[in-house]
Symmetry: C3
Subunit: 342 residues, 3 copies
């Protein structure tokens, strides 16, 4: 595929400055792009590269004024990064829309229905009473248990596993090895020291536009009819643990290896860094930011806080204390000296 700079600018509603007839056949970073590639300048840190780039064209902000002469062609847009994302996405779609049809052997249980333009890879398993929408891709070796529902345009990658009754909305992505609907970790201690499993009979719900990373696990809710729920637009990274009966709000982003314990409610528009741990049965306010490795042991009621440490509290206060922590041997020594004097 090859497009002229003018064609691309038209698609992005951008304005061309320079040679609009140059032909572009790929995308690249501003430092590395070749003459048939398109790049973008968004972070001012990279502005220096626009004067030396080999890229055929570069997308820049509407108000960008070069300080020196420039060889490349400019496409002026509202938000160069967003425009770049749009192009990548279009390119990606062109590639992935090619997977359509059914590879054999694959398994489709009784009373299950699939929409149009489906891909079902070899060794994919779809149980009984499953309802799958249009343009869904079920990659090889993946498992969709009985009574599951999957909306339109969703992708289940190779080896992802959905237990019985999992419900997935439209435009969702479940990456390889992710497990949705495994038993919550509920065991009732008995008098003789053994544990009795509390049957876990609920399910998992992903609303629309949710993305689940590779090898992430989301346990089902305990009671029949209840759901562990990931709300609209929320994105979970890899190797995350979401325990039974948790609710994660809308447009929340959680980085890898974080764990949320049972029955906790996380708000909307939160950002959790990696390896965070959150105890069970608490509520976390909207727009809470948790720094890497934070350990949350109580409800967060005020919106917009940024927390660090374990147990976590305000990150600025934590780092002030941590700066003094580094000098503790010195503080100890100074205290002893004062004691001698007194």
């Amino acid at each position: 595929m090859e497009f002229s700079v003018n064609q691309i600018a038209q698609l992005l509603q951008g304005e061309v400055e320079g040679d609009g007839e140059r032909l572009i056949s790929g995308l690249g970073k501003i430092q590395e792009a070749k003459s048939n590639q398109l790049s973008f300048l968004s972070n001012p840190k990279y502005e220096q590269f626009i004067y030396s780039t080999q890229a055929g064209a570069v997308m820049v902000r509407k108000d960008f004024k070069p300080e020196k002469s420039i060889d490349t062609t400019l496409i002026k847009v509202e938000d160069p990064y967003a425009s770049f994302t749009v192009l990548l996405e279009e390119y990606h779609k062109a590639l992935t829309y090619s997977k359509i049809g059914v590879e054999e052997p694959s398994f489709l249980g009784e009373n299950s229905t699939v929409g149009s333009d489906i891909y079902r890879g070899a060794f994919s398993y779809i149980g009984s009473n499953v309802v799958i929408g249009n343009n869904v891709k079920i990659y090889p070796n993946s498992h969709i248990g009985d009574n599951c529902k999957i909306g339109n345009n969703s992708i289940i990658y190779a080896g992802a596993k959905l237990y019985e009754g999992t419900q997935i909305g439209n435009n969702c992505i479940v990456h390889s090895g992710a497990v949705l609907g495994s038993d919550g970790f509920g065991f009732a201690p008995q008098e003789d020291g053994t544990y009795k499993a509390i049957p876990q009979m609920g399910h998992v719900v992903l609303e629309d536009n949710v993305s689940i990373g590779a090898n992430t696990v989301i346990d089902c809710a305990t009671f029949h009819g209840d759901a562990t729920t990931i709300k609209e637009g929320t994105k979970l990274d890899n190797l995350i643990q979401i325990a039974h009966n948790v609710t994660i709000g809308k447009n929340t982003v959680i980085a890898a290896q974080t764990g949320i314990s049972g029955s906790t409610e996380v708000g909307d528009n939160c950002i959790f860094a990696g390896q965070v741990g959150v105890v069970g049965h608490i509520k976390i306010a909207n727009k809470t930011t948790l720094a890497a490795k934070a350990g949350i042991s109580r409800s967060i009621k005020k919106e917009g806080e940024v927390l660090f440490g374990s147990p976590a509290y305000d990150i600025k206060q934590y780092l002030s204390s941590y700066a003094v922590f580094k000098t503790l041997p010195d503080i100890n020594r100074r205290l002893r000296e004062l004691e001698k004097k007194s």
Copy 2:
């Protein structure tokens, strides 16, 4: 399925107070249950709801005395929570016992034997010389390597993987994506800076009544004939790492994302919270409790301790120090003032 309150009370050896002819067809929480549902009251915190619940019947303690009038029917039992668990379990069994038979294509290697009332899902793989007991469920896309043994009534969920020689007792559950028997992480450093893999030739043993969470990994032991062992009644949550040659005692409960390093021995009746880390080659006494994110760097010899922090020590002492840690900038300031005065 529909039962009268009297029928349920009989099953639980409970005593009915109120209308015993009401019909029950499901279970629910006391705050939310409908008139055809059964609930329970165990935690006194929820006692208020018994005066307003819509539930058809509620299980309560034998000695429960209502303070106001009550609309619902009471079933008086020794332990309402335990009774609720029994009912859930019976209901669950009724559902899961329906999976029986062999879906094709599935793979059964040479010299392998399976007991009666088996479920083998499509695309499940059973290698050679495998021995599988009665009433075992091998879900789709799971992998049972050569020379494995699985006892009666055990469940291997979709996409779980057992390496060669894994031995699983009776009444065990292995959740989706769990891996048992992968190579221990053993590499001998060479003079040129490279590492040479130390062949890992042992296996993994799960004794009876063990439960393994989704995407948890248990490495095999190093030497042929040795085993990484999870003893009777122990429950592991999701995404846990158990390294080579570890032994976990009986009736120990370990929460998600915890890691136990090589050759460590964990005692009986321990409780580990999530994201705990334990170094290798140590022993942890029976009844040890580790709080979330604890880092254990030495053997724990005394039973019944509760530890926190990294390196971890007594949780109360840790939290006392942590309370002062929060004031360190203030302590630093006060110390300076004293120094000025002295």
Copy 3:
């Protein structure tokens, strides 16, 4: 298989002291080995056992001088541990080289080629345009996406998943449930609070002699043509997260449950313990050692440092401060007393 002590000594270029005609048919620990087994003495801590061992023969250092009489036969070698490793490896090869051939059903896409002496397990999936070398083992239920390359002598264990375009060198091992090439966690925040996925179009490269643990995840690079790269000889343990565009140097060893964030470059010959977290967009010098649970928030420029804590710094300094941390309630009390006096 049975060999005389003399035969084994010849293979290892060792010197026999004692009865060289004894027959050996297995390997064992010095404390437990039987008369037909071979053991080794490397760690002086175990020297006591050589005077009582039942082993038929024991490998010892060339300069080993017994202090008492010894019943077992000695094989004197440069490095007993290394010799033991060699024997284990040979034994292991003998066992694993038996897996050859194709089990059906298995899937091989269009235009894909496989070398000689291949094992392809049942329900293994190989996409289109895949190139696989000689003596490669693709275990059951594993997934090799389109356009992947796998070098000679590599092993892909049951249920491992390679996304499209993954490139694996010679002599690599990918354990069960590992995922290579899943989408990097890249989402562009939109003005309305939602996130737009940034298409992830790069791939993953494992150079030669790389080992990837069970359920570890390595995300693909963002841009088409770029790769998240694990260099020659590097070994990753289980449940590790490697984000998009990360590079890990040569002969680096990373323990379980560690996470490396996007675009970070880790040097050669590093050793990371378990549950370490590293932020994105930094560089870590060669020969850096990170202790368990360390949190790295800035580039490490000097080679050979050993770091602990979060944010991490020199481990000795950290532990000095931590020793004082434990006494903080006492320090607080002493400070108050001085204040009263002053």
